[in-house]
Symmetry: D2
Subunit: 341 residues, 4 copies
C-alpha cells in the first residue's frame, strides 16, 4: 500500500533488531525497506533468525549501502558511538531517526564522555534529540526528528518515579534501585557469563555502586522532573530468564505508599501501556513478558522506605516496543498500533 | 560401627529432610535410625525420593511411632508449631534436638505470637535453646541440647552484618535487605505460584514491607550484636532456580566498603564455611550451590550506601548443611565432617 | 461492532483458556460474551490472570449460567467427558462448538471407552464432528458445527506424516514418535512432578509404550490417510520449558528423506502455518514458540530410518491457535486473522 | 600424607576439568600436583572457577611446563588430537594416563580418521589403551596404563545395552537411540546456540542421522559385546538444563522388556553405580544429577519395540566421575572412593 511508511533498521542482527522486525511485520502501516549489519551483510535475515521465515524475507545489506537509501524512518540498534555516526547521514537527509542506543539520551556531552569514555560523535545534535518516554514527552515526540529511545532499566525506574518527583510538595531522597534483568538485556554477543551453563541456575549483581551506564540517564530525567539535582543508587542483577526487568525501588519520602499509588494512577489514567496495581497485587515479570506494558505498584512505608515495584519486558517496553510506540506518535498513527497482541 | 551416633528425622519428606538424608549418608559418624512423616508413613523413603536408592533404604514411620524411639540426635524438618510439639518428648528424654523450624529461634514468646499468630507451644524452653549460627555462637552450640537452626534468608543476612554491628564504633542504620531465593525455599508443598509454568521465566517480590517472618529473627540477632534495638527493611523475591539465595544489602554507615571487608575478613579468618570476596569479584549463586559455603563481599559507599552481597545454598548453609555443622559441634566431630564435597 | 461474532469460553481458567482470551482480544472480529469456570465463578478473570488487565475485564460465570447464554461460537477448554456434557446444550441450540478436549476426536466410541475408561457422553454426535486439522480437512471444517480440535502432540505428528501416508506408493512402517513437550501441556492443575523444583533441571519420559491417550488419535488419522490400519509407538517426555513440542519421528520407508521433504513441501505449499525446512536447518522450539507455525524437516535415511522433526507451540498451533484458525474457517474470516503476531 | 598419589590435569579449564578438581579435592587419596591450560596459564584456577576458593589454590601452568612434571596419574580434558599429543610424553615416562577425549577410544585408526577427519597422532598405542567402562572391563582397567574414558552419550547407551547384546540367544536389531543432553555436554567454549537466550526455553536435535562422533564408539563396543557388527541410529538433542543425559532407546528384539530388566539386573547386581529401576518407575535426570549413578529401566514391547531408558550426569558418570572410578581401579583404591556424596 502506498500510504505505508518505509523503514530501515541498522544493526538488525541484534535482539532488539529481530524484535523490531517482528513488531513491524504485524504493524500494518510500515514496510521494511532495508536491514543492515556489518558482520552479516549478504546473509538472509531469516537464515539468522529462522523464526521470521514466511514473515520477513530480506538480505542484510552493509551499513555503507544502507546510508545510500532514503526511507521515512530509520531505527538504529547499533551500540553507542557507532550508532550516532551511522545515524548522522540519515539525520542530514531529514529522515526520522529512532536511536535505541544511548547516544542521544544524555543532554550534557560531558556526562556522556564521563560514562562512555569517548567524545560524543554528534554533540551539536543533542539539543534537537527528544527523549522518547511517551508518557512524559508525548508532545515533543510528535515533532521529533531525532528520537532517543530510553534504556530498558531506565524505563522501569522512570515510569514509577517521575510522577512522584513531579508531584507538588514531593520530598524524596535516598533512592535505591535494586533491578533484575533477563539475559537478553545483555545482548546477543557471546560472553562467558551469559553462556547457558553459567547464567542458568545462577543469579548475580554486576556494575553496582554507581557504575552502570544507565545511572546518569535515570539521574538526568529525575532531575528534570524534580527541578533539582537528583542522585540515586542503582544495582542491576542478572536473572536466569530470557526477558523481563523487575525493579524494586526504595524511597525515603513524606508520601505514603498509598499516596504514591494515587499519584501514579492519576498520572497514568489515560495511558495505554502503564498499569497501576495494588499493594497486595505486586507486578511480576510473567504478566508483562512479550507485551508493551509496564506494571507498577507501591507498598512499604510506615516507618520503612516506600517501595515501588515495576515490571516490563526489556525488549519491548524497554526497547523495540517503546521505539514503535514512539514511531506511532511521530508519524501520527494510533499509538497502540502493532503493540497489542 | 558402635561409635556412630543414631539419628532421627521428623518431617523427613521435605526438601530439607532429603538433603539431611543425603548429607548424613556420606557423613561417616552417623546412622539414621528413623525417618518419620505423617502423610507418607508406611512408604519407602526412596520411593518418594528415588535419588536415594542404593543409599538409604528405610520405611517412613508415623510421628507417634517416632516418639517412642530413643536416638542420640533428632532433626526436625516440620513446620513451626507442629515442630516444637513433636520435639518436646525427645527434649524430655534428653535427646539432642536440632529444630529447623522457627519454633526456638525467637527468644521473646510475644514476638513469636505476633508473627506466627498462635501461642508458643513450649515457651518455657526458649531460654535453653541456642541459636545455631556457628560463626557467632559456637561455644554455646557445643553445650546445646535444643538447637534452633537459623532461617535461610536470615543466615544470608547475619553472616555479612553481624561482624559490622559488633565492631567498635559501628554506626549503621537504614538497613535494606533485597533478597532473592530459589524456589526450594518455598518448600515441597504444591502452590500455584511455584507450579513450573508460573515460576519459570518469572520473578517477583513477596511479603515485602516488614511482612516476612524472617524479619524479627534478623532484627533479634542484629539487636543482640549491636547492643541496641535494630530494625530493618526486608524484601524477599522468588528466583526461577532450584537452589540458592543472594542478598543485596544496603547500609547507611560511617564504615567504608573496604572497612566492612576488613572487619568481616578478620571475623571469619578461621571459619571453614565463610569466604570473603573482593569488591570486584562479587559472590554469585553458582559458586555456593550444593555447598555449605557463604560467600560475602562489600562494595558501594562513597556517598552511596555500602552494599553487602552474600550468597549461600538455602538448603545447605541455609538449612540442612548448617544443621549438620551444628550437630558436628554438639557431638564433638570435626566441624566440616560430611560438609566438604 | 455489530458484525462481530459473540464467543463463550467454557473452562476458561486453563492455560488454553487464557491463551484463547489473549488471541481473541487481538482478533478484531470477535467479542467474548462469557467465560465460565466451576471453581472460580464469581472471580474476575484478570484477577486470576493479571496479564489480561486492561485487555479483558469480565467476571467468570458458573457453567449452569453459561448454558443459558446464546452465542455464535463456544470454545470448550474443559477436560474430557465434562466437556461433551457441557457442550451438548449449545450443540442443541445450534451454536457452533469448538471442543479442545478429546471428546469428539475419536470416531469409534469403543476406542474412546477403551482409552478414556468411561462411556462416551454423546456418542451419537461423533459422526457429525469434524476433526479440526485445517491443512487436511479445511472443506469439512468450513461446514462444521461440532469441531474436534486436535491434540497438541497429535498435531506435531500428523502434520509431518499425513502427506507421506497419503502419497502414492507410500510404504511406511515401524513409526516411532519420540516427542518432548513443555510443561504447560500438563495443564495448570498442581502435581508433584510439575512443581517447579521437580520439573526444573529435570527431564523424563512418561506414559511410554502405547499408553498415552494421544496414541489412538494419531493412529486413527494416519489410518484414514493410509487407507489401512496404522499403529505407532509413541513416547512422550516432559521438557523443563513452558511451551513447545518437538517430535523426532523415525520411519521405515521406501521414501528417502529428500522424497519426504518434497512431498511435504508440495502438500503445504499454500499453507500459511506450516513451514518446511531443510535437512541441515532442523526445526527448534524457539522458532515456533508464541506462534501458530509448525516447522517440519526430514533427514536420515541411507540405510537408517528416515527422521522427521517437527516443532510447534503446544498452546497455540497445538491448541488455542489452531482452535482460532478453525473458527476463522467456520465463520468465513481470513484464515490467519488474529494469528500473525 | 605420603601415600597419596600425585595428579596432573591437562586442559583443566573445562567443565570436566573443574569437576575433576572438585571430585579429587574430596577424594582423600590424591593430591593435585598441577593443572595446565594453554589459554589461561599463569592465572589462578580459582579466579576462573571461584567455586573452588578455599578448596583448591593453584596457578595454571603451560602445557610445556606440565610435560616436564612427573606425577603418578595424568587426566586429560583436552580436545581430541591435542589430547593424544600431550599425553604421549607422560605415556613414555610410564605415567598412568586417563584420557577423557576420544583419542584412545576407537580401536581402528581408520575409523578414527573417518570420523575425526585427521590422522591419529599415536595409532601404535591404540592396542594398549583400555576402554574405561568399569562395569564391563574392570579387570583390564586394573592393569591399564592408558585409559580411554568413554563418551558421555556412549556410557548412557552401553550400560543398558551391553548386557543384552552379551546375553545368550540375543536377537537385537534396529537400535534407535534418541538421546537428550544438558548443555554442559557442549563444553565451556562460547557458541551462539549455547548462548543463554538461545538455549533457554528451547530444545533441538543436532548431528542426527549417523552424524555424531559418539556413533562409531557405540557401534564398536556393541559389536564387541555381540560378537558381530552392530550398527545403530543415534539422534542427540540439546536440553535446556546444565547437566544430565537421558537416552530413550528403541530395540527390535525377541526379549521382552521384563527379560531385559532381568538380564540387566543380573549383570549389575554387584555394581555400585548402576541402578536398575522398574518399568513403572522410569529414570529421570533429577535422580542422577551430581552423582556417579546410571539409572536404567526397560518398558515397551508387546508388539512394539522394547524401550530402554537410561539417565546419568554427563559430567560425572559420563566423564569425570567415571574417570575417577577408573583411577580408583587402576590404583587399587576402593572403587567408590570420592564418588559417594
Amino acid at each position: 500500500m502506498s500510504n505505508k511508511i518505509s523503514i530501515g533498521i541498522l544493526g538488525a542482527t541484534s535482539y532488539t533488531g529481530v524484535e523490531l522486525v517482528r513488531l513491524l511485520s504485524g504493524h500494518g502501516m510500515t514496510s521494511i525497506d532495508f536491514v543492515s549489519s556489518r558482520s552479516s551483510a549478504g546473509e538472509r535475515f531469516n537464515a539468522i533468525f529462522p523464526e521470521t521465515k514466511n514473515i520477513f524475507d530480506a538480505v542484510l545489506i552493509r551499513p555503507e549501502e544502507a546510508k545510500a537509501r532514503t526511507v521515512d524512518c530509520v531505527f538504529s540498534c547499533l551500540p553507542h558511538a557507532v550508532s550516532a555516526e551511522l545515524c548522522l547521514p540519515f539525520i542530514k537527509k531529514g529522515v526520522s531517526v529512532i536511536d535505541l542506543s544511548a547516544d542521544f539520551r544524555l543532554k550534557d556531552p560531558a556526562v556522556y564522555e564521563l560514562w562512555y569514555k569517548h567524545k560524543h560523535p554528534a554533540a551539536h545534535l543533542l539539543a534537537d534529540a527528544v527523549y522518547g518516554l511517551p508518557e512524559h514527552y508525548r508532545k515533543r515526540i510528535a515533532k521529533a526528528k531525532i528520537l532517543a529511545n530510553p534504556g530498558c532499566y531506565v524505563t522501569s525506574v522512570l515510569l514509577p518515579l517521575m510522577p512522584l518527583f513531579k508531584a507538588p510538595g514531593a520530598k524524596i531522597e535516598g533512592v535505591i534501585v535494586d533491578a533484575k534483568s533477563g539475559v537478553s538485556g545483555a545482548g546477543r554477543a557471546l560472553k562467558q557469563n551469559t553462556h547457558f551453563c553459567e547464567a542458568n541456575e545462577n543469579f548475580f549483581a554486576y556494575s553496582i555502586g554507581h557504575a552502570h551506564r544507565h545511572t546518569p540517564e535515570m539521574e538526568q530525567e529525575l532531575s528534570f522532573a524534580a527541578g533539582r539535582k537528583v542522585t540515586i543508587t542503582f544495582s542491576p542483577h542478572l536473572l536466569p530468564i530470557n526477558r523481563g526487568i523487575l525493579s524494586t525501588i526504595y524511597l525515603k519520602t513524606t508520601f505514603s505508599a498509598a499516596d504514591c499509588g494515587r499519584i501514579a494512577a492519576a498520572a497514568y489514567a489515560k495511558e495505554p501501556f502503564v498499569r497501576i496495581r495494588e499493594a497486595d497485587d505486586l507486578p511480576d515479570i510473567h504478566d508483562v513478558a512479550f507485551t508493551n506494558y509496564c506494571d507498577i505498584a507501591f507498598t512499604g512505608g510506615n516507618g520503612h522506605p516506600v517501595i515501588a515495584v515495576s515490571a516490563l519486558d526489556n525488549l519491548i517496553k524497554g526497547a523495540s516496543g517503546q521505539a514503535v510506540q514512539n514511531m506511532n506518535i511521530m508519524f501520527g498513527f494510533p499509538e497502540t498500533t502493532g503493540l497489542l497482541r
